[in-house]
Amino acid sequence: MLNCKQLQFNYPKSRPILKSVDLNFGSGNIYGLFGKNGEGKSTLMKLVCGLLTPEFGYCTLFGESTHARSVQTLKDLFFIPEDFELPALPIYTFEKINSVFYPNFSREHFYTLIEEFRLYRKQDISKLSFGQKKKVLIAFGLATNTPLLLLDEPTNGLDIPSKSQFRKILASSINEDKCIIISTHQVRDLHSLIDHMVILDNAQVIFNQSLSTVSDALWFGRPSKENESEVLFSESTFGGRVILNREFQEESEVDLELLFNGVLSNPEKINSILKN
């Protein structure tokens, strides 16, 4: 569906943000795009949308370059940026003036989501908090029913109940025709939501695996005394939880934060186990 080939980018007078990044995103998945601050997650999203021009390489959506910003490509994607402003209009006017551009937009779905987020259609957007504005944009993005939905730090500004509500809504929105890419540095917020993990570090993709592959090959939990020597990664702050080579152990739930830290500390070791 979405292919990025040899993507290279740097802002003027800055170090390279992305160095020859190759990525493929398929439909029916929710991808988590992780990385430390300033590692190029937002930049990658903007490149995917055609809002930035790569130094080298390209991104294609259904075979068409996204950089051209053609009407068809823009109809197939919706981007929710991290920092944004919405016009001072009632929610229903905002919907009315923007939804006409998206042929698969579902008004019913939009207003259902608005109600779920405890907002109402006549509310003036200018009087909403940033978190509430984010909910309006998330609801709008989901209601567009575009095959590709990109969310940059979507949980920033959301309170704790809203974060779990967001996870629930997003999980129910995915279908076989859709691909959702969520970029965040708050790994815990996407717990039990994503099914594929991409980690960016030092301007490169250092990890790109489905969580089913991860849970097949790795084990997360507290080690017994016999397998303490086989620990791949551990952190005392995680209550003694470690990553182990799964081998004959029972399948465990993937601990995203532990995996993220483990990959950052030693990507080669974890990648080599997953390849085998």
């Binding site: 949308c49 809002l51 930035l52 021009t53 053609s70 823009l74 109809k75 981007f79 944004f84 003036i97």
Partner: protein, 250 residues
């Protein structure tokens, strides 16, 4: 495959801009109506009549500044880093965007403001006949003065459209500054060309030949000048605006 140029999408895009700027449009039109009304009234107080010349003088005093402000207002989303992500990722092609901006900021604005100005002008005349016992003359919308003003705006508006799309802060000031620098540049260039080509005729000897030539040059454009400034310059600026939109990054 979606069409890259769709009239219905252009109409929707114009509607979107108008809805977003509804408050500013109403305020702008109200303020300019009051100003226009007062200008017309002051004119009638002086000579007890409002000629077409006088009316369109007042008209252009409001029409130009308000039009420039409107042009900048419809490009606000384009330059605002917190708004332009969603704006630029709307499924509207660059051709449609530039067409919508131009139709909105030139054609619709001219039509709307002209109708409003004529109404205000008529009202001012009625008030003038009552207060100052001025003559009541129906101003013609199709007078040469009106078309001159509208044609001049056709040439000026795309320059400000390019300015609105090029600068992020102090946009009007920076556009005027660039225009001023360009004007001075053209002046110096023309002066040098004029001096080089006509030096042998003794134009700098203190006689009046030089100033006569300058006077003539300011009023009488060559055929190339007429074509360039009258027909090509406006669309050329629209082409520049098109590429500004096409190459815009966030």
């Amino acid at each position: 495959m979606a069409k890259e140029f769709d009239i219905s999408r252009i109409v929707q895009f114009i509607k979107r801009d108008v809805t977003l700027l509804k408050g500013s449009i109403v305020t702008g039109l109200l303020v300019s109506s009051i100003l226009l009304f007062l200008f017309c009234l002051f004119n009638m107080a002086w000579d007890k009549k409002l000629s077409a010349d006088e009316f369109f003088g007042c008209f252009s005093l409001c029409y130009f500044p308000l039009g420039v402000l409107y042009t900048y207002a419809i490009c606000r989303e384009f330059q605002n880093p917190k708004l332009n992500h969603t704006y630029l990722s709307l499924p509207v092609s660059t051709q449609e965007r530039i067409t919508a901006k131009w139709l909105n900021a030139y054609l619709l604005y001219t039509l709307g403001f002209s109708l409003l100005a004529i109404t205000v002008g008529m009202f001012a005349m009625i008030v003038g006949t009552i207060i100052f016992r001025a003559d009541f003359t129906i101003t013609s919308l199709f007078s040469t003065n009106y078309w001159n003003v509208v044609f001049l705006y056709f040439f000026v508006q795309p320059i400000f459209l390019v300015g609105a799309l090029s600068f992020t802060k102090n946009r009007i000031g920076k556009t005027l500054l660039v225009l001023g620098v360009l004007f001075i540049g053209f002046l110096i260039f023309n002066f040098i060309c004029f001096g080089l080509l006509n030096h042998d005729f003794g134009i700098f000897s203190g006689e009046s030949t030089g100033s006569l030539a300058f006077d003539k040059a300011s009023k009488d454009f060559s055929l190339f000048g007429r074509w360039f400034y009258g027909l090509i310059f406006g669309p050329l600026m629209l082409l520049v605006a098109y590429y500004k939109i096409k190459e815009k990054e966030v």
